[in-house]
């Protein structure tokens, strides 16, 4: 979980240019001002990096950073989420 969360923070800051200070586990994607296209792009990025399928639904904007990290972690085989953020 920690590796997935850390990677997510890196994607949000580096790719989506979100201010690192705004990113907290309980902050929603909408709260980080990601629009609908950016959220789908975020999912594509996470799926490609972790090699897991993620369900895209219309309420993703209301998910928190922590919930997104949990959704990725839940798809990973046991043990993978503890690696150092390395893609599969």
């Amino acid at each position: 979980m920690a590796a997935v969360y850390d990677h997510l923070v890196t994607v949000l800051t580096d790719k989506f240019e979100v201010d690192a200070e705004e990113i907290r586990p309980d902050m929603t994607l909408a709260g980080l001002e990601l629009d609908s296209l950016a959220i789908v792009e975020l999912y594509v990025t996470l799926q490609e990096h972790w090699g897991v399928p993620l369900a895209e639904d219309d309420s993703a904007a209301d998910l928190t950073v922590e919930q997104v990290a949990q959704a990725v972690t839940a798809q990973l085989p046991a043990g993978d989420a503890d690696r150092d953020g390395a893609p599969r």
Binding site: K15, E17, L37, V40, E41, V44, Q47, E48, P53, E56
Partner: protein
Amino acid sequence: MSAPDDGAGLVVTGIGLVTPAGSGAAATWEGVCAGRGTAATDPELAGLPLEFSCRVPDFVPRTQVPGPRPWQHDRATQFALAAAHEAVTAAGLAPAAREDARIAVVLGSAAGGVGTYEDQFRKLTGNGPQAVSPLTLPAFLPNMAAGQVAIALGARGPVLHTATACASGASAVALAALLLSAGACDVAVAGGADAMVTPLCATAFARMGALSRRRDAPARASRPFDADRDGFVLGEGAGVLVLERAADAAARRAPVQAHLVGYGMSADAHHPVAPDPEAGGLRLATAEALRSAGATAADVGHVNAHGTSTPLNDRTETTALAQLFGTDGPSVTSSKGVLGHTMGAAGAIEAALTALTVKHQRVPPTANFHRPDPESPALDLVTEAPRTQTIPLALSNSLGFGGHTTVLAFRPDT
């Protein structure tokens, strides 16, 4: 109605270039004056029919592209944004000065964001629909370079895209000139951008037999007008000019790089990809450019030729130049010996270089020319080193698949 010697009465007040000779108008001017080919082996084309190209060197979107999230743009749009930023800055059009101005953006490209299209189609077929970026369409639609530049500048239009293949950038400049002359805008940000050094485009051009096969010496492959030329080298880049009516530019004390005094647009109406052997389109566009400039063939001191390095284009263009200007004609150069063929960007890049040529009264050489084509009329081709000469009027020729032809006419500021 403009005075005859004022022609279209427009001026170039800013230039921005991103080319295989480097980022920035200064780097490109220096590169073409040095006269060395920029083509090199291209790892991204490994395993394809031809593995060399003219790439923009060391382009870093994160630092060179203004605005948020530069990765969301296709590479062609990234080039356009960087070149437009340079051009508008050079013209002294700061954001405050742009607020109330009626600014048009007219940018051409042959293939829009084709690199994005290829990448995403590969993801669709390789990994399925979930792998396709939702930003695919805004990245690859051909109008988006113009749209994104308008967003970056706060330009409210008209905002248009021209697609006339390899004449696209020149057509954009001519269309922008028409908009200014018609009073449809007060400032026009015009040019072209393309990033077609992609696996599919490179392969498709190779399959047509259009590319040079000189893989043992890529930097010497693009050799416009040389007897041993065997095709063009695929390049990429962007060129952007800021155009204004001369009176408006003078009123705001804008820097003037050159005067755009005439423009002609025509078509061969002959063949999808082969030039008309009689060069009907080029002769018509030249006549119209001279007419609108209030000039005659005798006034032309220099021609920046289309000069692609293909056997057909260069022979046809040479024949047309001989017919238009006689045996004692203007000096001629082709920038493609250095830059390769940057597709829809080429006409705009060469328009900018022609403006700089009349400004500096200095003609960059045609790279890699060794021996005249025995089957073509003689040209006063500038080779090996830049030539300083008096140039009262210079033309820039651009031709594209489809038979599209545009000729632009520039005079120095005096």
